[in-house]
Symmetry: C2
Subunit: 221 residues, 2 copies
């Protein structure tokens, strides 16, 4: 194998191991053994476990950021639901590593790892704004979108801790939560009200947003 | 001053400095100078900046956890609103230190600091459950309460970044968000529906929960 090919293979093997268990439990020996090479050869490509962890995290970050990309077609609720399904696919595949990373701590909380987490959040934020067709968001819309992204993270982390709620229910719930957070903000602010009406005007009768309204009306009665 | 008195004074001085600027910008020299003692004397009481930071953070954590305590009297919406006011008072007083801590990183992201953050989240969770009069919460209620606490954190962090929205609006918004997240969950699950009806049955016509419903009806029309 060439140098770059070997590096890419090692990153893939490491990402697999760092995803399945907390990264501080994964040793270089284990990575070497899983890659079928010697420990000194691992160090030939990466100076230490941290640099290999950061490379694996960079690949995972690019993967996750890509899952927020969605064609600008069809109603907003269905687009968000497809994004949430891909987000939970990622969380499902990388559970223990995702939990360890998001909970921080010495093994995973470096400046470089925090910058990668922020880059994924920013990519998700830019994607959601593009679907809302807003280029210069008012402060309240920025708050709704960014705090919803953080809600998706915390919902996923709580789900991973025991998986006591079916993930498909939480994917729909997060789409509903987006509409609910936007509606709460719109209830206080006319500009957000106008944005919300624009967002929801193409929603079909059987889409997730109308589904929420129907369920809430039935709950209230 | 006695040993304990001097330690407590140093913790107070350090907390003040760690709150006003990012903790990695605060030096032991500065803490010594603000406390009116010599640098070696600071080291006599605390082996290094990290141990002083952790002691200051412990005091701040106990303070913050205490702000979630609220008498079990009156409607739920008003209780939550008083808690949110005290939460934003805390965030306002400790802005830069709170941001640096919650964003993690090498200066603040140790195992001990993460354990303190978790202890505050747990205290807030237990307090909210006690107001809901639930001792054995179903998984969906746990998710709503814990994810709402995380939403309060992210809302405060976004607010601190420029303070572009009046904090009083966000205090009310977070109370509304609680009702909205509970309603979204209740729309999918009968047990949550029963819990939500019980939560809201004593809400007065001019309380924050009914205020939200009135505003949403006006928005929809």
């Amino acid at each position: 194998m060439g140098v770059d090919e070997r590096r890419q293979q090692l990153i893939g093997v490491a990402l697999e191991l760092f995803s399945r268990r907390s990264p501080d439990e994964v040793s270089i020996d284990e990575i070497a053994s899983a890659a079928g090479i010697s420990r000194p050869l691992v160090y030939h490509y990466f100076p230490g476990k941290l640099s290999l962890y950061e490379a694996a995290l960079k690949r995972a970050s690019e993967d996750l950021a890509g899952r927020f990309e969605e064609p600008q077609e069809g109603p907003l609720g269905s687009r968000l639901l497809r994004v949430m399904r891909r987000f939970f696919d990622f969380v499902d595949d990388h559970g223990p590593g995702f939990s360890a990373l998001m909970r921080g701590g010495p093994a995973v909380g470096s400046t470089a790892t925090n910058a990668l987490i922020d880059s994924v959040r920013q990519a998700a934020y830019v994607q959601i704004l593009s679907h809302l067709r807003v280029t210069d968001p008012p402060a309240r819309l920025e708050l709704v979108v960014r705090s919803w992204i953080s809600l998706a993270e915390s919902t996923a982390l709580i789900w991973l801790d025991g998986r006591r709620i079916p993930r498909a229910e939480l994917e729909v719930q997060l789409v509903h939560d987006f509409a609910a957070l936007a509606a709460v903000s719109a209830a206080q602010d006319a500009e957000m009200g106008a944005l919300l009406r624009e967002m929801l005007k193409d929603e079909p009768a059987d889409g997730p947003f109308n589904d929420l309204v129907v369920r809430l009306i039935s709950l209230a009665s």
